[in-house]
Amino acid sequence: MTALLELRSVHYRHPNAREDAVAGVSLQVHAHEIAGVVGPNAAGKSTLARLSCGLLAPDRGEVLLGGEPLPRLSRRERARRVAYLPQDPPSDLGFTAREVALMGRAPHLGLWSLEGMADRARADAALAEAAAAELAERPISQLSGGERQRVFLARAFAQDAPLLVLDEPTDGLDLAHQVHLVQTLRARARQGAGALLVLHDLSLAAAACDRLFLLDRGTVCAEGPPKEVLQAAVLGAAYGTAIDVVSHPASGALLVSARITREASRDTSPITREKG
């Protein structure tokens, strides 16, 4: 089966940077699958997400959407194949939540960008999917961070693309809304959608994703089912600090947390030690 997303040894260096942000990453995301990208700060996670939806062009390597190389797709065709949630969506918009959700329909509209009844129904359904239906009439500028995040998730859902690339989708969401989001993504995956999520919360990544890619300095240093990737030794090496992984005694869910000793003195803190 053709992968929804395929990266073939992709390299990318930001302008004026000394090192590659993404240095030879190959991965695939298939239909019915939720893949997660985890890793320390500046590992190249967001760059990878932007490369995956064509916002950046790789210096070397290839990105394919539904089997077709990105440069061969028109902008609109690309936007019909992949929906992207950026890390911090703009907050100073006068548009209402419904208007923003409707913007997700843009790649499907004609010359005058006028949406029809079907598009409006789709946007309303997407708002409901993202638990933002009650925000529909509110301007974005009046929403809290978590509410805004739900509206922009709705915009991504309204785009009706088979692949979702979501950068920190749980950013600002409370626990109940995190659970709702994971369930929504699962429901979409059952219907054949695929997703690539960039996540910081490793316990959440374990619960939400079928497969994880642990990224460190631009390369994938571990990949596989969460149980294989989320191992204390592997994580400890990538993040540079002691990390505990336990199974919840009742649910069996993987719980990952960094070991924080209150008495940690200067010379045991991994970051100052690295610098010294």
């Binding site: 916002l55 950026p86 548009f95």
Partner: protein
């Protein structure tokens, strides 16, 4: 719910609704514009062909009202477009250096007409009934647009903030040069430049007005077609790009369409300020930020606003035997309205 409520209506029907409300407003403004003026003249008599009322109507008031409507629409629409490009509702259509360029063009012609060679050559240069100074204004505005576009690019794409800075610096540079020109030319020429700088509606030939109207349809049409994409630009470059928008091309088209509309407007009237700032702002208070509604509504609102401002200038001051340039009226009306709108946003 109100019929114009965004919750129940699509963008197309809200735009139609706004046009339906504003067309009678424009008609009313035009009626005021052709009914009132400096001289006593009866509209009824004029329509029956009684002289001199008929001449006043057809040779003076109708062309002037038409000009005001065209210029008002052009300035408002380009104001909306440039505000969308800058992602700043407080931008003015002249910020990108267009006013400086147009002023410089006009001032150059004024000096040239003072020299023997210029006096001989200039009448020959008039084109389709346009005066050399008008052509120079358009040329100056377009040259400024090109300059701002080429210097305001970063990584091959128009960077609005950079372009704004270039525009502001160029405007200051140009006004310094224009002041220098004024210091050396004869007093009556200074007067002409000054009048032009403050924005004045004159009396143009109907054929010229019809031509300008037809010409304005192109940039306004381009901008209305871009309206949906201008909405998406509010999401930021990557947000718009991710929805399939060609951000570079959209910016390029919107920038030059807006510049062309401003260029056509300044050719006739000089620098009429505040229209492109206040009208879109007032429209957005009622319609919300959707450009598919704001653009057509601002075109009509701008037309009505400038026709009324000009009528006000003619009526209020006819007792003084002189009338202020319309740019002064739009500034006097526009500045307080603008402050009011700004405060109401909070």
């Amino acid at each position: 719910m109100r019929p114009g409520d965004p919750a129940v209506r699509s963008a197309a029907s809200r735009a139609a609704w706004a046009v339906a409300v504003l067309l009678p407003v424009v008609a009313l403004a035009v009626l005021c514009g052709i009914s009132f003026g400096a001289g006593e003249s009866s509209l009824g008599a004029a329509l029956r062909g009684v002289e001199p009322d008929a001449t006043v109507l057809w040779k003076l008031r109708v062309p002037r009202v038409l000009l005001a409507a065209e210029v008002g629409a052009a300035l408002s629409v380009s104001g909306v477009a440039l505000q969308a490009l800058l992602r700043n509702p407080l931008a003015d259509p002249f910020v990108f250096g267009l006013s400086g360029g147009a002023a410089l063009g006009t001032a150059t012609i004024v000096i040239a007409s003072g020299t023997a060679l210029g006096a001989a050559a200039l009448p020959a240069a008039s084109f389709f009934g346009l005066l050399p100074a008008q052509l120079a204004a358009v040329a100056g505005a377009m040259a400024a647009a090109l300059l701002v576009y080429s210097l305001g690019r970063a990584r091959g794409r128009l960077d609005p903030t950079r372009a704004l800075l270039v525009g502001i610096v160029f405007n200051s540079f140009a006004s310094a040069l224009v002041l220098a020109v004024e210091a050396i030319v004869k007093p009556d020429q200074t007067q002409a430049v000054l009048l032009w700088l403050s924005g004045t509606l004159g009396y143009e030939a109907m054929t010229l007005l019809a031509g300008a109207g037809l010409l304005l349809i192109i940039p306004i049409g381009v901008l209305v077609a871009l309206a949906g994409r201008l909405n998406l630009l509010a999401l930021g470059d990557e947000g718009a790009e991710a929805l399939g928008v060609d951000v570079s091309r959209t910016r390029l088209l919107a920038f030059f369409a807006a510049s062309a509309a401003v260029g056509i407007a300044v050719a006739f009237t000089g620098l009429v300020g505040f229209v492109g700032l206040v009208v879109p702002h007032a429209v957005r208070v009622v319609t919300g930020p959707d450009h598919r509604v704001v653009l057509p509504a601002s075109a009509l609102g701008g037309a009505a606003f400038l026709v009324l401002a000009d009528t006000l200038a003619r009526v209020l001051f006819h007792g003084l035997g002189a009338e202020p340039p319309v740019g002064a009226v739009t500034a006097v009306v526009g500045a307080p309205v603008f402050v009011m709108l700004l405060r109401s946003r909070q």
